[in-house]
């Protein structure tokens, strides 16, 4: 759709990182809070946002949650407790922590899961947010999606001290680093962290080690990426690995796979058809929504 010029904004795909979206969100309740970023499509879907709404946001339609005001990567909708992020990556982390603080002040046992890339960990907001979350013992799970690339910059030029998860111990916080192309491992570790946070056990930092299989965005040819490295990660593809697991453990068949793929493709086609039938906002609607009543 991007190549056909149907998508007006940037396209930032989560190809290769799907296990993080699914594994971190699977155990969440409706009243739990998430602050996903631009490669976390699965988080929106698992938190219950209809694909039609998402597609309207992507295509700038009035029926999207921002009414055409903002692009896909900053989607938010408080009906699903999805916090809108921004292009200042890392800035949504203190906001998610504040949402977690509010749930505690209101006597609820909801948790917040906040997402950021390894590149964002160089920002002060992450430090400030984690430090305060430790002081207040907040129910927050910090998901660092280490996909090895901050646009074109690799981790050894982003992360002083090497291992990012080690930083958690400086806040007295449990810090894990895990193979995030294994959806079941992500699910299991995040489920434990969610359980601990819900019981008042405080925050957890989880480095999800993965790989960005494409360029930063559709317009990035990514000549800086090593083809051999990409090919090595291709063999660890999270979807392929989970399919293999299903085939071996529950005799998942090719025909079941085909049926499921067709169902998903039909849902996407429906969302696209719906969104394309929806009107754009009118120009003067740009003036609306700066303030709420």
């Amino acid at each position: 759709m991007s190549r056909q010029g149907k998508i007006i904004g940037g396209v930032y795909l989560g190809r290769g990182q799907e296990a993080i979206s699914v594994g971190t969100t699977f155990d969440l309740r409706n009243d739990d809070i998430v602050s996903p970023i631009h490669r976390d499509m699965g988080v929106f879907l698992l938190k219950g946002m209809p694909m039609r709404n998402l597609m309207c946001q992507i295509l700038g339609r009035k029926a999207g949650p921002s009414k055409g005001k903002d692009s896909w990567s900053h989607t938010g909708d408080m009906r699903y407790n999805i916090l809108a992020s921004s292009s200042m990556l890392g800035s949504s982390v203190p906001i998610a922590c504040g949402a977690a603080l509010a749930t505690r002040m209101r006597g609820l046992d909801s948790v917040a899961v906040t997402y950021f890339g390894e590149g964002s960990t160089a920002r002060g907001d992450i430090h400030e947010a984690m430090n305060m979350a430790a002081i207040y013992n907040l129910p927050v799970i910090f998901i660092c999606e280490n996909n090895q690339w901050a646009y074109s910059t690799p981790p050894d030029r982003e992360i002083g001290g090497g291992k990012i998860a080690k930083r958690a111990s400086a806040y007295g916080m449990e810090g894990l680093s895990l193979d995030a192309n294994d959806v079941l491992l992500v699910y299991e570790k995040v489920r434990d962290a969610i359980h601990r946070a819900r019981q008042g056990g405080g925050p957890t930092f989880i480095e999800c080690v993965t790989y960005r299989m494409m360029g930063h965005s559709e317009h990035d040819q990514a000549a800086y990426m090593d083809k051999n490295q990409t090919a090595a990660w291709e063999r660890r593809d999270p979807i392929g690995r989970f399919k293999q697991y299903l085939v071996e453990q529950v005799q998942f068949t090719e025909s079941e796979d085909k049926r499921m793929t067709e169902r998903i493709e039909a849902e996407i086609a429906d969302a696209r058809k719906f969104a394309e039938s929806q009107p754009f906002p009118e120009g003067p609607e740009a003036l609306e929504g700066v303030f709420v009543p």
Partner: protein, 327 residues
Amino acid sequence: MSQKTLIEAIRDGLREEMERDDTVFILGEDVGAYGGAFKVTDGLYNQFGDQRVRDTPISESAIVGYAIGAALMGMRPVAEMQFMDFISCGFDQIVNQAATMAYRYGGDTGVPLVVRGPSGGGISGGLFHSQTPEAWFTHTPGLKVVCPSTPYDAKGLIRSSIRDNNPVIFFEHKYLYRSIKGEVPEEEYVIPLGEADVKLEGDDLTIVTYGWMVHQSIAAAQQLEKEDGLSVEVIDLRTLSPLDRETIFESVKKTNRALLVQEDKFTGGIMSDVSAQITESIFEHLDAPVMRVTAPDTPTPYAPPLEKFYLPNQEKIVAAARKLAAY
């Protein structure tokens, strides 16, 4: 009615809103048991406890970010900046996050939060304890900006700011904190955001101003009446954004002369916009060019002679008004 300082009026406003609404809470550096650097929150910790009067580390960005997240989940946080100079450390959270949130949610979800703290000079606070950074925020759509000059206004405006469903940046002039007293009624009242107040009526010339400069302008007006027989009207903006154009225009249409006074620097302050709006909209009513009294385009200096030179004051306002009246 009782006589209150600015600081007491703000504290009373905070206390009464916290008594009225359980979702209101305060967070900031040293705001708890210590009561804040200027003691604005003094006593509130004892009354409301450490959950609702919450000390934070020195993390302005997270203070504002946490306030945004809490506001999205139904709370009404009031975040204190120890000095408004430090608000720059929370700038991204205010201008890129809080200010755009309603727009990003299609106008359906707001962030009801207040960022408040002491601003302004006159105490030899130097470069980082004296700033008047209102214009950073009046330039940003999605924020409301408030700057009261009297105890009565401060209490009514802090209450409206807390009840507003949008982010409000609330500037309290530290020189006025304890140097002025004013009548504040015992009964509940609010002052709507976006309404200027005519602090002094007059026919010959309009001074538009806010904050500490309201007091300097009233003193200047009294001097001009006594020494020059000039009748000067003084308009206190009270809210810088949204701007009360009608009250300004009505006055300037009557006096035909506008003197704009701000403690802020010459370039890009709110009065640059007030000037543009007067000349764009009611040019034919002017008998003279719109004039301004402002600080120069320098940081706020420390040594008393430097700060005295830097700050607008009664003497400078009188000189400018005489020039304008004679034009």
